[in-house]
């Protein structure tokens, strides 16, 4: 009997193993990682539900797929689900999950009064797990379903998804147009393969950048080690998507821009001068 199960593969999953290991250490429960042979949420939710029904706690990364799958698994098992958690606390055999509400303006400590307790964890909010992992293999049988996939595309955009990047270089309206994005691309290139590009909502609404790069309350919610906000005023809706960043650097010509209220480092100046200067300085230091 394994009390805690981590569902799924990938780097998001390896961070979730830290949560499983942490809870296991404090409760004496055993944990393992459940490897999925397939991941189409509509076809395999019921099969995943069967695999995890005897566990006490089931964890998954709060990726688009993870959240969709767990929502379906939760309904199949008729149990509550805490999505997008950023932390946890163990009190005896009771586990409390911490999740942001109201765009991160408030944090809630929630207890799930059901078995199994299902939770997804926001990518990058947990340390990567370095220890050994017990793997459970399950070949899942798809349920009959009516969903047809007309086509499927992988990639097509940036090399690194913004939610997985260590460093995110993000542009706002202050960039003045898509033709200037090369200065952000140069900075991101200088910062190495773990850097990705993002943007604010007006930028994706204007079609300057793909919608997948939109970061904010109604876009992607990210927690990189460093977030560089360039020409972004810092509306609350944008800040809701980046508040989990370990370090926020803001570049804006308006010294009163609200992004400076949440920034760890702020450079007041013309981004068209500041960004190339930063890129050159970073290259010189590498």
């Amino acid at each position: 009997m394994t009390e805690i199960l981590v569902v799924g593969e990938g780097s998001a999953g390896s961070r979730i193993c830290s949560v499983a290991h942490g809870i296991a250490t404090q409760t004496g429960w055993r944990w393992a990682r459940l490897r999925l042979s397939k991941s189409d949420t509509h076809a395999f939710a019921e099969a995943v539900a069967k695999c995890v029904q005897d566990a006490k706690i089931v964890l998954m990364g709060a990726t688009a797929m993870g959240k969709d799958l767990m929502a379906r698994v939760a309904e199949h098992l008729d149990v509550p689900l805490a999505q997008d958690c950023i932390g946890y606390r163990v009190a005896g055999s009771k586990v409390v999950f911490i999740r942001p509400l109201y765009g991160g303006k408030v944090l809630a400590e929630v207890h799930l009064a059901a078995c199994p307790a299902l939770a997804t964890f926001r990518p990058r909010t947990q340390p990567a797990y370095q220890g050994a992992v017990a793997i459970l293999e399950h070949v899942l049988t798809p349920s009959p379903h009516e969903m047809q996939v007309v086509w499927r595309k992988v990639g097509g955009g940036a090399a690194l998804d913004v939610a997985r990047a260590d460093i995110v270089v993000s542009g706002g309206r202050g960039m003045q147009g898509p033709e200037h994005w090369h200065i952000l691309e140069s900075l991101a290139a200088a910062l190495g393969p773990k850097a990705a590009l993002a943007c604010s909502r007006p930028v994706s609404d204007n079609g300057w950048r793909p919608r997948a790069e939109h970061v904010g309350q109604t876009g992607r919610v990210i927690a990189p080690a460093v977030y560089v906000a360039v020409g972004i005023s810092g509306a609350v809706q944008h800040v809701a998507g980046i508040a989990g960043s370990k370090c926020i650097i803001a570049i804006n010509k308006d010294p009163h821009a609200s992004i400076f209220k949440v920034a760890d480092y702020g450079i007041v100046g013309d981004l068209f001068e500041v960004v190339p200067a930063l890129t050159a300085a970073v290259k010189a230091l590498r």
Binding site: T63, A64, M65, K67, D68, M70, A71, R72, A74, E75, V79, P80, L81, Q83, L101, Y102, G103, G104, K105, V106, L107, E109, V110, H111, L112, H145, M147, Q148, V149, V150, R152, V154, G156, G157, A158, D161, D166, I167, G192, R211, A212, G219, V226, Q237, A240, I248, I249, A250, P255, D264, G266, I267, V268, G269, D270, V274, L278, A281, V282, L285
Partner: protein
Amino acid sequence: MPVKIAICIKQTPDTEARIRIAADGQSIEEEGVSWIISPHDEAAVEQALQLKEAHGGHVTVVALGPRRVERSIREALAMGSDAGLHLVCEPMPADASVIAGALTKALRPRGFDLILTGEQAIDLAGSQVPQRLSIALGWPCVVAAETLSIKGRMVQARRPAEQKEALVRFALPGVVGVNRRIGEPRYPSFKGIMRAKRKAVEVDVAQLAEGRMIIERLHYPPAKAEGQVQSFGSGIEDTVARLLAGHIDTQV
């Protein structure tokens, strides 16, 4: 062919609203909060109206919550929805499975072809209601839809997920959870607002199960230390460049 659409909306505090924790430590102070239709849901209302305009049909706005919620139902009626259904309860349940259960009970006997809703509400961000509805009803479901169209009885939706993307298709009845990025909602016209006053809003008591996601305590996120904000040329750019460069070296 005409489609009978239910659009489930949630009333949430405005994204700009200041959120204060109430004295009980488990809920928020509602006094002084301005309420809106959650943005993803508002985009779903727009999609419902566009489908009705293209194919004919009927759009019912469904919302669960206390009396204040009626204003949001009227707003969706003013945008062009045909009828409203208000499932009354006070306070609003914190457990999304309870909300989905009450919606399922109300929607099942009413014979809808398509249930639309936002992929998540911006207040408690439960991110599970469309999926739960679909499984309870035994219908197919796609979430985070960024395009939506109907041909005959077939629904087609584009669903991006991180760096992947798929175009999926299923036969009605079904559930679609849309993302705000699917398109801007319209503003109600003056005529729409006047008409909305005469549209019927059915009021029913929400059938709530006991909540099993229990909010034990709310707290504010730890306050952030004040940052170092200086003008370009003061040397701050060197500090930032060193920080960025240092990060390249230490990353795993």
